[in-house]
Each structure stands twice: as C-alpha cells, then as structure tokens.
Amino acid sequence: MTEVKTEVRSLDDPNIWVDTPATIYDAIPPYPPRTEREAEFYHLRDGEMLLNLGPQHPSTHGVLRVVLKIDGERVVDLDPVLGYLHRGVEKLCEVGDWHIAISQCDPLEYVASLFSEAMPVMAAEKLLDLQVPKRAQYIRTLVWELNRIASHGLFIGWLALDLGGLTPLLYGFIERDEIVEMLASLTGQRMLFNYLRIGGVNRDLNHDFLSRLGDWMSRAAVELEQETRLLNENEIFIRRTKGMGVMTPEMALRMRVTGPNLRAAGIPYDIRRAHPYAAYPDMEFDIPTRAEGDSYARYMLRVDEIRESIKIIDQCLHEMPDGPIMARIPRLIRIPPGRAFVAVESPRGEYACYAMSDGSDQPFRLRISDPSFWNLQSVGELVPGNLIADTMAVMASLDPVMGGVDK
C-alpha cells in the first residue's frame, strides 16, 4: 500500500488540518479481516484495485457506501458497508409506548412512510385482536395506494437520473408533489404522515383532499402514459437497462428478494394476495409479473403497478363505506401479552413486523423487517461482471431506501 497524504482542511475552520481516519478515504480497512469473506474480498489479485463509492455519493440513494473491487472498468466483487443512517429504531420503540412507536417507525421508509408506520399499528391490532372499522380499512387502502404511486413515480425519475437523464426526474417529482400535497391536506404532513392509529386512522377524509384527488384521478392515467413515453422506447434507456442485472426466479427466491423485484423475475408473490389485509380482499386488481428479471423488467413492472394502483383507488372511492374511522379503544392501551407477525406489501416489497408484548404499554420487542434491506443484498449477485457505470443503474433498479436499510 502506498503512503497517501490524508490530511485535509477542516470544513468548520480552514485553518485546522485534520488527519482523517483511514476508514473514510481508504477502501482497505485498518483492522485485520474479521471473516473469511472479508479476507477474501480485501485480498487483491494482479490487476485488481479497490474503489470506494459513497457514502456521500448521489447515486447511492442516501448514505450507502460500497467498496468496489474492479479490474479495469469491470466490477469483480463488491462489499456494501451499511450503518451510516442507523438510528436504533427497534431499541427506541422498546423505550416509548406503542403510540410513540408509530412516529418512530415513520421515517424508516421516508419515500413511502405510510407503510412503515403501519407496522406497530397493525401489530398492536393483531395482538389486541381488534376489528378495525370498515371505513378506516378503506381509507388506509386508499392512502397506501396513493403513496405507492408517489414512490414508484419517484423511482422512475431516479432510475432515469442515474442513467444520465434529468427530465424524467422532474416529471416524477411533479407527479409525486401532487400526491404529497393531497396527502398533506388529509394528514397535515407532506413526508412523514403519522396518520395511522391503533384502531383506525387519525382524520376522516375532507373536502380539500377529495377534490384534489378527483382532479388528479381524472388525468392520472393520461399523465402516466406521457411520462413513461419518455423512457419506454428511449434507445439509451433500453440499452442501459435491458439485460442488465438479470435475476432468475431461483436466485430471487434464494436471495429472498420481494416486491416488484421478485415479480419482475416471474414469481407472483404479493402480500396483498398471498395474505390479504385491510380492504384488499374486496378489491379487484391484477398482480403484474414479468419474466425477464432485468432492470428494464423491474422498471416496466412498476409502471404496470401504478396502473393497478389507480384501479384500486378508483374502487376505494366508489365503495367507500360510511361509519366510524376509529375503533372504540381507550387512549392508554395495555397490549395483552403475546406474539404477532404482520406484513404489508410496500412499494419495495414485504414490509414485515414481529412484535412481542409483555402486557405493558410498551412493546417488549418490535422487529421491523424492511424490504430494502433484503433487496439490497442481491447487488452482490447482480453487479459483478458489469461496468462501474452500470452498478448505479442496477442498484437504482432495485430501489433501496437507505432509511429502511439502516433502520
């Protein structure tokens, strides 16, 4: 290893020179390897070198650090380094009561936070064996599908941005912004909604929300076509996504990939069908699948999912029942002791939660399993063999959200 000058000017005070710890700028860790795999990875053969990507790199969608082992322009192997966004949410949930856990889980999946905040809510409901009113179930289904569209819209934009196209991102954000403003008039927040409650939802549908929603629904399908027309037949986009990062069905199951990434490999596993919850048993919708399993299939599958979501929203609005939006439960709940497992289909896959209660008002253990975390680990299988520039494209097509990966 050659001697590298690592002193840099401090960002706070340019007069201060800081000798940075080797771990940030050097790819080789300054401690002996802990496992065989680590030893194997950091042993370089002739012609190979290590390249540090991130944690502050725009194409890593947050703060993911990836150490790439490259031979020329080809990636031979890679080692994702997580934990830059770790907040210890599971521990924090054990300290506060069940209501506080809702807002703790909110920022996990910050692109679609209605899904992550559903975890403590649904777990508590299952432990209480509580019947949630029908109207609340429908409202939940409605806002979940809206949030799914907002998330997928952003995904399409980010994927194009990682391939060098800026315009689709702007269109994606226009779409997302409309939905987010709509949800803000319902929940009071644009990003971290904190809308679901144990036993129902926080507020009933209001006029502002419904008029915005009706306005948007009247042109959603047309706008989706317009936006995706930019990419669907774009020569550069197709050549950089078709055949890239191909995931076979067997690999997808072994690597335990879920959500659109699994369905793009041809396996129709969707929790909304496999294990229905909320108002999904009453809804009519298809589970789109694709056989190719490459980046392009993952993109197209999300476009198909947006169409299905619009269908579900339409049904929700037409069949919205009257009635209360909260079950009659005391505000200070003691959850009966027990164990419960719940899962919802988030835009990224199976969002699951395993909750244990000891009969107090605080969760004893609240394990949150985030799909981004599970999906991201398949980059180790998909990326090697590709060019460095395609690493971003494949990673973006898996659509990880680092807030959920690092918890």
Partner: protein, 199 residues
C-alpha cells in the same frame, strides 16, 4: 397444516405446535434447525420457499432466533422459534445454505444481540462500527432514558473502553500557527465521562 407438521416432525419439536390467529408456531431446538428447515423448504407438502423474516430476540433470560416462513400451501405464516440459547454464548446454525439472502439479517442479529450463526460465511457487524463491543438490542443494554423508567434497575451499562488497534490511525487535530495554543487546550478539556450512579 398443524396436523401435517405434527405428523412429520413429531420428535423434533421442543414444544407443541401452537396456532395464534393466522400464525402457526413451532419450537425447534438449535441442533434440529437445519434438518427441520430443509424439510420445510424441500418437502412437497410444505414448500416454505419464502423466508419472510429472520430476527433475534432477547427475553431477558435467554436468547431466541425467530424465523417466519410463507408457503403457497398454507394461508398462515409459519413461525419457527429456536429458544433457550445461552446468553453468554448464543449459537445457532445458519440457514444461509437454504437462503443465501439470510446472510445480512443474520449479521444484523449478530450485531444487535451477539447471536452467533454457525455457517454464515460473513458474520461481522453490519450497522455498528467494527470496534464496537456491545450488543445494543439486548435487554441489559439500557439507554439513558431507562434509568428514569425503572429506578430500581437504573444502572447504566457502562461500555468498555477499548484501545484501538495499533495499526489504526487516529484523527489528529493540528492547529495553524497563528491561532496559538489556546484552542488546543479547550479541545483537550472535553468533559470526562461521569461515573454511572450507584444502584
């Protein structure tokens, strides 16, 4: 499903099969885990191909490793609990030979609980830095807030200080000459960590 499970694995369960709402719960000893998991995954009458979740649990007296499986053959979630792992040396066989994707969750459970998954080829910390010594999700790792919650047990877990490895370079702050020594002394006068209050 409950009946089929009881027929096939009659002698391998550590406790009777339980049905809780939409979850079937089985308890398996650590040594039987690979055989039971392989059977659940491969057998045509089970086909539990999807590993829905994998996590560790600290009950306060012992550690568990908990798995959730899903199969198209059953409308229920299957929960596999591996109970009574020793707190000072929890060891359980890895399931990465069936699902290589279980590698990261096993690393997470190791990071948070210290459960050692034998057979995982890459069992190192995943979230916490490599020189970290505690297991944060264990029940004896108390947050500062916990002291006010349970005054009887409010002893904070004092983390061991440990020397960095010799070959690890430490950040050094060097001042430009015109600033003088004043600020260096303030930097070195950071408040010392106070002792934990007596129980």
């Amino acid at each position: 499903m409950k009946r089929r499970l009881e027929q096939v694995f009659a002698d391998q369960f550590a406790a009777p099969v339980r049905q809780i709402n939409d979850q079937t719960e089985i308890w398996v000893n650590a040594k039987d885990l690979p055989a039971v998991m392989t059977r659940l995954h491969d057998d045509e009458q089970f086909e539990f191909e999807i590993l829905a979740d994998l996590c560790g649990v600290d009950t306060g007296t012992e550690m568990w490793s908990v798995y959730h499986l899903w199969s198209p053959r059953s409308p229920d979630w299957l929960r596999v609990i591996v109970p009574s792992l020793k707190r000072d040396d929890p060891r359980v066989p890895s399931v990465t030979f069936i699902w290589p994707g279980a590698e990261w969750p096993e690393r997470e459970a190791y990071d948070m609980f210290g459960i050692i998954y034998e057979g995982n080829r890459d069992l190192r910390r995943i979230y916490m830095p490599p020189d970290y010594t505690s297991f944060p999700l264990r029940k004896d790792f108390l947050l500062p807030d916990d002291a006010s919650r349970s005054p009887g047990e409010g002893v904070r877990h004092v983390e061991q200080t440990h020397q960095p490895a010799e070959n690890m370079r430490q950040p050094q702050i060097r001042m430009a000459p015109q600033l003088g020594d004043n600020q260096i002394s303030t930097l070195s006068q950071l408040p010392e960590e106070t002792e934990a209050p007596p129980a």
